[in-house]
Symmetry: C2
């Protein structure tokens, strides 16, 4: 099982994500971001790219799409909070959104 991020390692991992619009949920067990694209085609192109990355890692987002917005929540459920898996997928999502 992937270990929960704690202390300084957690702060260090989260800082660049927070700078790019990710926020922690109220329990500190997940990170969230709302991506906004120009239209549905771009939003779904982003989702398709992320879907492949997520399946490859066997680590999947909780996400909601409404037309050109995609609201994402990342958490590692079997660890009960944030792990390096969430940090890495969040970074990949930022890259994927920039690419669209």
């Amino acid at each position: 099982m992937t270990e929960l991020l704690k202390g300084t390692a957690r702060d260090k991992a989260l800082a660049p994500l927070v700078a790019q619009g990710w926020t922690e949920n109220s329990h500190g067990t997940a990170i969230e971001k709302r991506f906004v694209f120009r239209n549905f085609v771009e939003a779904f192109a982003f989702m398709t790219r992320v879907a492949l990355l997520a399946e490859k890692r066997d680590h999947h987002p909780d996400w909601r799409n409404v037309y050109r917005t995609v609201e994402v929540t990342l958490s590692t459920h079997d660890a009960g909070g944030l792990t390096v898996k969430d940090i890495e997928l969040a970074q990949k999502m930022n890259e994927a959104a920039a690419y669209v």
Copy 2:
């Protein structure tokens, strides 16, 4: 603008969808269904198929995906409720789910 479904036409249009697991929201302005697949690949295959159909119709779902589940809400916002666009997309989603 597509007209709101009312009265008998509305009942007639909804009946087959209700029989296939769709429910009305509490205000009667939307229909909802939770699709459950075997895994993420099948859930996202369904979403991809539906994305193409939705974009073609320029009528898009509000949907949330968590691993193998896809929760869908359909409504025609500029009409303030259910129209034939929602009925048709719901039918297409049932077909797409059966195909996966």
